[in-house]
């Protein structure tokens, strides 16, 4: 790969939520800003911009990633999934999203996009977590509305009652 000059904008192609998208980024452009301002999606929320709050959490090539600690040029050629990938093509919410709605797992919704992606990645590795394990995963996200109780109930309910368990 050639060295990318700091003054120039470089083409970045990603497979975003199942669709190929293109944009341009200087090397210093964060993946959060690329997704929000260059591509124009609204599902990668910018919070603290130093990896603490978890609002910007997305999946890059299936791995959980803080988009505010990743540069757009690093994600070139990768698959990026945000919470917009969870619902089906008709807009029907996924089982996890329905459980969040049912159990009041969100209020303002700002942290929710990141939380959903963390939980999605974690449940792929550990399909039936204990409440304690789940709370440890959620400790990587700051939520100022729910006190996490609704989120925990939602995920536990989803794990218990989902089809094809």
């Amino acid at each position: 790969m050639p060295q990318l000059n700091k003054e120039a904008k470089h083409p970045v192609t990603i497979n975003l939520n199942g669709k190929e998208v293109n944009g341009y980024a200087e090397p210093r452009m964060l993946l959060t800003d690329f997704l929000t301002h260059e591509i124009g999606i609204t599902s990668c929320h910018v919070g603290c911009e130093h990896g603490v709050c978890g609002a910007c959490t997305v999946l890059v090539d299936g791995n959980i990633t803080r988009a505010c600690l990743t540069f757009a040029v690093q994600a070139d050629g990768c698959t990026v999934d945000t919470s917009e990938s969870l619902a089906d093509e008709n807009g029907e919410l996924s089982g996890l999203q329905k459980a969040f709605k049912k159990h009041h797992g969100l209020q303002c919704g700002y942290c929710t996009t990141g939380v959903l992606m963390s939980v999605t990645a974690y449940l792929r590795e550990s399909p039936n977590p204990t409440e304690e394990e789940l709370r440890t995963v959620l400790s990587g996200h700051l939520c100022r509305c729910t006190g996490y109780v609704g989120m925990v109930r939602a995920v536990m309910d989803y794990c218990e009652n989902r089809p094809n368990k």
Binding site: R28, L30, N63, I64, R66, T70
Partner: protein, 275 residues
């Protein structure tokens, strides 16, 4: 909260990385997981002229056993060590430290070697390296050398790595089957930086205790077997010797108290793990 401009180069081998370091000079920085470096870039505490991305160097993605040590390549992420089936048996101290090392979300990206190079005084992996007596392998365009943990970390956020070198691996000694290992820390929130972190190794006749978060780097002390008030006196002396500082999270007095109490509990736990 946006970094200053820098050139970017993704490299595929150690040779490419060290060549780029020679070209880039003092202002070049390596990035692997970026979990410590990118916050510093965003805050403009670090302003490199070029960022050399070493996260995709396939030859450095490994965990292997070599000469009584577990060697971890520089592109190996913390979550990979967490999932490695032999971490529990070969590196029990690290197995106990990993769950409190950052968050699930940061361990998925952060690398083992990156944490060592960042050298935060309260960070878990440098503390384990110092306590176990591990070493770090450094490569430059002209050669390779290895440094013991105490030669490598020289102070707060500073290590003996030269600007033309990259850390290519970390080596942690394999656990002694006759020893007990324990790790505990106190932090404001699960996964935050520790106010005080404690690593203990107990054998039949020795106690080794490593403390992070008080002095400017992990500090290790070894005693012949101690119990009761003799142990408390030894911990108290150690706590005062470490110095410590006041900051927004804790006073130096509180840190000393943590060394005394958490130190004792961790040693007791390590003793139990032995028996």
């Amino acid at each position: 909260m946006k970094p200053k401009g820098f050139d970017y180069l993704k490299v595929g081998s150690v040779a490419e990385a060290t060549h780029a370091l020679e070209q880039g000079g003092e202002d070049a920085r390596l990035i692997a997981g970026g979990m410590s470096l990118v916050p510093m870039l965003n805050f403009r505490l670090v302003e490199p002229s070029i960022l050399i991305d070493i996260s995709k160097i396939e030859e450095r993605k490994y965990i292997k056993e070599t000469n009584g040590m577990i060697e971890i390549g520089s592109a190996t992420r913390q979550c990979e060590l967490e999932k490695w089936p032999q971490t529990q048996s070969k590196l029990p101290l690290i197995a106990k430290a990993l769950p409190v090392l950052g968050h699930y979300q940061t361990r998925a990206r952060g690398t083992v070697c990156g944490s060592l190079v960042h050298a935060d005084p309260s960070s878990e992996l440098p503390l384990c390296l110092a306590t176990l007596g591990g070493e770090v392998v450094l490569s430059s365009a002209t050669g390779t050398r290895s440094l013991k943990a105490k030669e490598f970390q020289t102070g707060m956020l500073s290590v003996a790595k030269r600007s033309n070198e990259m850390v290519t691996a970390a080596r942690y000694p394999i656990a002694n089957p006759d020893a007990g290992y324990a790790f505990r820390e106190m932090s404001q929130r699960h996964g935050d930086y520790a106010i005080v972190a404690v690593a203990a190794v107990v054998t039949a006749d020795k106690i080794k205790l490593g403390i992070g978060g008080v002095a400017d780097k992990p500090t290790v002390r070894e005693w012949n077997m101690l119990d009761g008030s003799a142990l408390e006196d030894a911990l108290n002396a150690f706590a005062w010797d470490l110095g410590g500082y006041d900051d927004v999270h804790a006073t130096s007095r509180y840190r000393r108290e943590l060394v005394r109490r958490l130190g004792k509990n961790t040693i007791e736990e390590a003793k139990k793990c032995r028996s």
